[in-house]
Amino acid sequence: MPSLKDLKNRIGSVKNTRKITKAMQMVAAAKLRRAQEAAEAARPFAERMTAVMTGLAGSVGSSESAPRLLAGTGSDKVQLLVVMTAERGLCGGFNSSIVRLARAHAAKLLAEGKTVKILTVGKKGREQLRRDLGQHFIGHVDLSEVKRMGYPVAQGIARDVLDRFDKGEFDVATIFFARFQSVISQIPTAQQVIPAVFEGEGEVNSLYDYEPSEEGVLADLLPRGVATQIFTALLENGASEQGARMSAMDNATRNAGDMINRLTIQYNRSRQAAITKELIEIISGAEAL
């Protein structure tokens, strides 16, 4: 049975925790709004880009001279997994769900006898993957210094990935991130970026004149397409992280509130018991006289 003083301290400490989680929740809510706006603003660019590339890929993709970024290297032996996670924890299952998807993917590829290389973006994913897949790491991108997720960040990552591709370090690249659905639901997603995959056929664009040439435009666009996809993924991830943190902290705040209620009841009962005990002692002492 804890003493009254212990209980009082305990209640105090839980109250402090609640204040912190409440503050974190509000900060996450504010950041979430900004992250969502950023993701929203980036959408038109990504959509147009995909539309044009889909059209081009439809007309050039099947030809012999198709660029390697589109046609692939003709092999899928070496797979690069780009795992994008957050720099910080305390955001519920956000990081672990991305890591789980990546790990399952890696296990499947390894079982098929393929070579897996992993590039981590964000500290948390690296920490979680290090133990069982650490020997596959080929690089890490640190985002802790990044204040605002801008396009140059994505370009940097894309350049790194493309350089490795040009050097023939891998055949297929897949990015892992969480797609933002709502505050309570973020969907871990795997998306293949190299060779580029397009959904559906875009035949509308065959009307267009291309300058300098179809191949030239496509060769210029494909690397940008990779950067754009990475940028979109980073933004989605940013929004997902804040959403996950917000709901995790909301839960934590509520749990702390419940705990305070329970402890307060216990505290009041103990105090009442102590008073009753003292009264009984006094009364029985008086009766004995």
Partner: protein
């Protein structure tokens, strides 16, 4: 009064402009071109340069660093890697662009070297034309 075409300028981070323009001059990789209503459908890549759009409120000019433009009879969308309104184009912004292009030249693979150097020269020309 000539007809108008819908002009959209988007960068990866945001939409910079969207209005009805009578003519839009874009710095294409193979040379500048001007798009007006009824232009043949064209997709062109961009080199760093100045993009001018004749809108309802006069000529709006933007500096772009690359990307592509999609033109058809009724609309033109410019997807620029980076775009800055000319009024905001200060020496420091340009220096940043140039420094970046220089870096590209230094890291480029031999087969991309020409392209990177061309980009750098375009950047320098851009600075000269902006008068900084």
């Amino acid at each position: 009064m000539a007809g108008t075409l819908q002009f959209d300028l988007v960068s990866p981070e945001r939409r910079l402009a969207s209005f009805a323009a009578t003519e839009v001059q874009v710095p294409g990789t193979d040379g500048d071109m001007t798009a007006m209503e009824g232009h043949a459908p064209t997709i062109t890549t961009l080199r760093p340069g100045i993009l001018r759009a004749q809108g309802p409120s006069g000529v709006q000019a933007y500096a772009v660093t690359g990307g592509f433009a999609e033109i058809n009879a009724t609309s033109i969308s410019v997807l620029a890697e980076k775009a800055v309104a000319v009024e905001e184009l200060t020496g420091t912004v340009l220096d940043e662009f140039i420094a970046e292009a220089r870096e590209l030249v230094s890291v480029a693979l031999p087969e991309d070297k020409d392209m990177a150097e061309r980009t750098l020269n375009d950047m320098l020309a851009l600075r000269a034309s902006a008068g900084h």
